[in-house]
Amino acid sequence: MLDAIGVDSVAELFEQIPAPLRLDRPLALPDGLGEAEVYERLSALASRNADAEEQVCFVGAGMYDHYVPAIVDAITQRSEFLTPYTPYQPEISQGGLQVMFEFQTAMSELTGLPVSNAGLYEGPSSVASAGYLAMGATKRRRFVASRGLHPHSRETLATYSQGYGAELVEVGLEGGLTDAAALAAAVDDETAAVFLQSPNFLGAVEDVEALGLAAREHGALLVVACDPMTLGILKPPGECGADIALGEGQPLGNRLDFGGPSFGFFCATGEQIRRMPGRIAGETEDVDGRRGFVLALQTREQHIRREKATNNICTAQALNALGAMVHLAWLGRQGFRELGELLAQRTAYARERLAAVEGVELLHEAPVVREFAVRLAAPVSSVLDRCAERGIAAGYPLAREYPEHEDGLLVAITERRSRAQIDELAEALAAAIAAERGALRSDGGQKTPQPGGVG
C-alpha cells in the first residue's frame, strides 16, 4: 500500500502536521483490553447502579419505566437499521425512509396535527426548537411558559433564548394547574409563543383549549408539550388549538438509559411545514412509477440552506423513532387506548392509597393520568433513602426545581407497577415517615437537616 502511495512509512503521511503540533508521546490512556475484559469492566460499573430491575421504580419526571416489548430490541438491533447513515441515497434506504413515514403518520395521529417530522434529539431541546420556529413565524421575540412545563424544558428554552435573543416569561401554577388569569395577562402582541405542558410536570391534565385562547387572541403560536403515553385517552393537542405539539418520546419503545438516547417528537399545523426542524420523509415515485420515499423539504435543512436553515440539526434519532414505531404497532390501536386507561386506573388507585397514608397528602387535586404529586410530613430526601433500603425508588423530589414545594414528591405509574407494588410503596412511605417523625420527636422536635441534594 505504501508503494502505491509512494511513501516509505505511514509516519511520512503525518508530516503534513507541523512538528510542534505532533504529539510526541502516547496518549495517557490505558492499554487496550480484550473483549471479555472490557465486558467485565463495564459490567462492574453497571452493577453499582440501582436500576429498575433491582428497585421498584416510581420515578418519572419525563422518563418512565415502561415495558419495552422484545420485538423492539430484535428489530432495532438488525444491522440494516442499526448501521446505516442518514438516508441521503434514497434508492438504498427505502426501509429507513418508510419507517420515518410510518412514524410521522403515527405521531400525527397521536397529536392530532397533520405534519410530523422524523424526530429530534429529545424532549427539552425540541421545546427550544419550537421557540426558534415561533420566532421565525411571528417575527417576535418573547415567550410565555407555564411553570408546569418540565423544568428541563424551561431551562433549555432559556439557554437557547440567550442565543437567538428571546425573552422568557414564566406563569405560575395554582392548585397544580397553570394560573389562567396570570397567563392571559402575560401574553401580549409581542409574544411569539405560549408554552404549555399537559399533563404538566406535576402530573395535572391542563385545559389546553381554554388556556390556549390567550395565544390565539394575540397571534402567538400555541406550543404544547405532551406525554405520548397519555394520548390514547387525552384529547390530542391538535384538537385543542395547538400549533405545535411535541415532547419526550422515551415512553414509546425506548429504554431509560440514564436519560438517553431517546427522541423528541415534533408535530405542527400544515402552515408550519416549511419551518419545521429536522428530517421529514415524503412519499414519491421512482422513474418507473414505483412508490418510494425520500427526505422531503430538504431546502429547510442545514446541508442545503446553511445559515438560512430552519434549524442546525443533522444527526437526529432515527433508531429511537423506529423503536417507538414498533412499540406503537405492537400496542396497536386498541392496546394503546387500553394502556392509557390502565395507567389512569392504577394511578387513581395509587393516589388514593397514598393519600390515606399518615403524613402524606395530595399536593393538588387536579385530574391526572399517570403521575401525581404529594406532600410528605417528613424530610423527602430521608424518606426516599428509607424507601430505597426497601428496594423502592419512591419518586422524584420536587425541592430543587420547585422550592415552593420543598416537601413535594412526584410519583409515576407505568403498566409495570402492580397493585401489590403500589401497596408496598404505601407501606414503605408510611413506615419511613413514621420513623422520620419518631427521629424528629426524639430530637426534641428539631427538624433534621436534609442530606445533600438529589439528582
Binding site: G163, V287, A296, G335, A344
Partner: protein, 504 residues
C-alpha cells in the same frame, strides 16, 4: 431498463404497516388494571378526553416482524458493504458495545436516580470525560450535547457567555467556505452573523483573507482540521494566534477527529472548544440517522460557562474510595442544553470502544484511516479516475480526500450524481457528493480504518469499470441505478407537493 426486467425486490411494491392493518387484530396482551376501576369520565373530565383512539395499525406480532424485516432488506448498511461516506466516518460498530449498553444497570437506570445510587454511571461518565480530555488536549469536558450540531450550538453559546462575562459584544463568526452546513446554521441560531473565509491553493485557510476579516467584532472562528478536504491546515498555529490576539475563541468541529487521534490534539493546536462526534470516531452506530452524541472539551477560560449539571468527583476524607455527583450549582453556566445528563447509552458504547483500543489502538486507528485514504486515492489516480475524477488538491491527504467530477462531466457528460447512482448497482454506498461546495462536482471519500485493502481495491475497480463503460455508453450511468429496490426517485415532487403522512 423497463418494468419487464424488474428484480424480485422491485416487484414487491412498498406497502405501509397501515395498509396491512385489519380491525380487531393485535399483538400486545396487556395486564388487567388489577385495581377497583371507575369510569374514565369520573377520573378525568370528559371535555379533556379524546373521542376516538388514534388510528394506529391493528396487526399481529408475526406480521409486524415480517413487515419490518422486509423493510430492513430495503436498506443498505455498513454491515453489508463498503460505505465510504466522506465526513461521516463509517467505521465498524463492535457488537460488544451493544451488549454492555444493554446491561440492566445501564439500560434500566432512571436518569433521576439519586447520584448516590448511580455511582457506576457517574464514574463511567467521569472516565469518558477524562479520556476525551486527553484525546482532545483540553482539560474540561461536558458530555451533554446530543450531536455534533448540538455541540456547535453549545460552543457558540459558551463563546457568547465568555465575551458577555468580559463585557464585550461581538457579532461575527468566521467559517471557511469548506465548512459543514451545520456550522453556519448553528451560528445563526446563536444570533451571530457568518462570515466566510476563502480557501488557498493548498486547500487551507487563505491567510490574507483571514487577516482582512479578523477584527474585534469576531467572536469565534470555526474550523475543522483536517478540514473537509481531508487536508491538515499547516497554518493552524498562526491562525490561532490571529484569532486569540483579536480576542476571539477558536472552535474545532470534531467531525474529522478520526484522522489525528493520538497524533495531534486540537487543544495543542490552540483551539478553545472542541466537539467530538461519538458516532463517528468512537464507533456509536449511526442508526440510520441517529442517535449520536457530541460532547465538548474546553479550555480553562471557557470552563466556568459549561452546561449544567456537570459530573464531579469528590475524594473521600475517611479513607473510602472517591464518590461522584452531579453539580447543579454552577452560577456562570450557560444552563441546560437538554433534559437530564445526555445520551448515556452512547457514552457506554464509546467508553467500551476506548477501553478496547487503548492509547496505542486509537493512534493506530488514525494511522490506518490515513493509510487507507491515501492508498485509495493513489489507486484511483492510477486509473481512469486520475483524468476524469482528479483529486481536488493534489497532496497527501489525512483520513479522507475530495475528487472533482468536473472533467468527467465535461468529457463524458456524466455528473457526479450519475457515478454515485451507478455505484449502487455495484453494491457500494457512494461517497458524499456535492460537498464541500468549493469543489465542482465534488466526491468526498472516507474509507476509515476498518476496511481491508481488498475492499478498497474492489471499490477502485468499480469506479474504473463505471468510467470505462461510460466511455462506451454514457447513458448507462445516467439512468442508474437498475438493481436497487426502487430506482431514481422524484425528489422535486416530494418537496413541491409534500405527502408526509399516510391518509387513513
Amino acid at each position: 431498463m423497463t418494468l419487464a426486467t424488474e428484480t424480485p425486490m422491485q416487484r414487491e411494491r412498498a406497502r405501509t404497516i397501515y395498509e396491512k392493518s385489519k380491525p380487531g387484530r393485535r399483538a400486545a396482551a396487556l395486564p388487567g388494571a388489577g385495581v377497583p376501576e371507575r369510569p374514565l369520565e369520573e377520573l378525568i373530565p370528559a371535555k379533556l378526553l379524546r373521542s376516538e383512539p388514534p388510528r394506529l395499525p391493528e396487526i399481529a406480532e408475526p406480521e409486524i416482524v415480517r413487515h419490518y424485516n422486509r423493510l430492513s432488506r430495503r436498506n443498505f448498511d455498513l454491515d453489508s458493504g463498503f460505505y465510504p461516506l466522506g465526513s461521516c466516518t463509517m467505521k465498524h460498530n463492535p457488537r460488544l458495545n451493544e451488549r454492555v449498553a444493554a446491561l440492566p444497570g445501564h439500560a434500566r437506570l432512571h436518569p433521576a436516580q439519586d447520584p448516590r445510587r448511580a455511582q457506576g454511571a457517574l464514574e463511567l461518565m467521569w472516565l469518558l470525560q477524562g479520556s476525551l480530555a486527553e484525546i482532545c488536549g483540553l482539560p474540561h469536558v461536558s458530555l451533554q450535547p446530543s450531536a455534533g450540531s448540538h455541540g456547535e450550538l453549545a460552543g457558540l453559546l459558551l463563546t457568547r457567555a465568555y465575551h458577555a462575562d468580559r463585557g464585550e459584544t461581538r457579532t461575527k463568526v468566521l467559517a471557511p467556505d469548506t465548512s459543514h452546513g451545520t456550522n453556519p446554521a448553528s451560528v445563526t441560531m446563536v444570533g451571530y452573523e457568518v462570515v466566510k473565509v476563502a480557501t488557498n491553493e493548498r486547500g487551507g485557510v487563505e491567510m490574507d483573507d483571514l487577516r482582512a476579516k479578523v477584527d474585534d467584532k469576531v467572536a469565534c472562528l470555526m474550523l475543522t482540521n483536517p478540514n473537509t478536504l481531508g487536508l491538515f491546515d499547516e497554518n493552524i498555529a498562526e491562525i490561532a494566534g490571529l484569532i486569540h490576539a483579536a480576542g476571539g475563541t477558536l472552535y474545532y468541529d470534531g467531525a474529522n477527529l478520526n484522522a489525528v487521534m493520538g497524533h495531534s490534539r486540537p487543544g495543542d493546536m490552540g483551539f478553545d472548544i472542541v466537539h467530538v462526534n461519538l458516532h463517528k470516531s468512537f464507533s456509536q452506530p449511526h442508526g440510520g440517522g441517529g442517535p449520536g452524541a457530541g460532547p465538548i472539551a474546553v479550555s480553562d477560560r471557557i470552563e466556568p460557562f459549561l452546561p449544567r449539571p456537570q459530573v464531579v468527583r469528590r475524594e473521600s476524607d475517611n479513607g473510602g474510595g472517591p464518590t461522584y455527583d452531579l453539580d447543579h450549582d454552577r452560577p456562570r453556566s450557560i444552563g441546560r442544553l437538554r433534559g437530564f445528563q445526555g445520551n448515556f447509552g452512547v457514552f457506554v458504547r464509546s467508553y467500551a470502544y476506548i477501553l478496547s483500543l487503548g492509547a496505542d489502538g486509537l493512534a493506530e486507528a488514525s494511522e490506518t484511516a490515513v493509510l487507507n485514504a491515501n492508498y485509495l486515492k493513489a489507486r484511483l489516480a492510477a486509473g481512469r479516475a486520475g483524468k476524469r475524477l482528479p483529486v481536488a488538491f493534489d497532496r497527501h491527504c489525512m483520513h479522507e480526500f475530495v475528487l472533482s467530477g468536473k472533467p468527467m462531466k465535461k468529457e463524458l457528460g456524466l455528473a457526479t450524481l450519475d457515478l454515485a447512482k451507478r455505484l449502487l448497482d455495484f453494491g457500494f454506498h457512494p461517497p458524499t457528493v456535492y460537498f464541500p461546495l468549493l469543489v465542482e462536482e465534488a466526491l468526498m471519500i472516507e474509507p476509515t480504518e476498518t476496511e481491508t485493502k481488498e475492499s478498497l481495491d474492489a471499490f477502485a475497480d468499480a469506479v474504473e469499470q463505471i468510467l470505462a463503460e461510460a466511455e462506451q455508453d454514457p447513458d448507462l450511468a445516467k439512468s442508474a441505478p437498475y438493481t436497487t429496490p426502487v430506482r431514481r426517485l422524484d425528489e422535486v415532487k416530494a418537496t413541491r407537493r409534500p405527502v408526509v403522512r399516510q391518509s387513513l
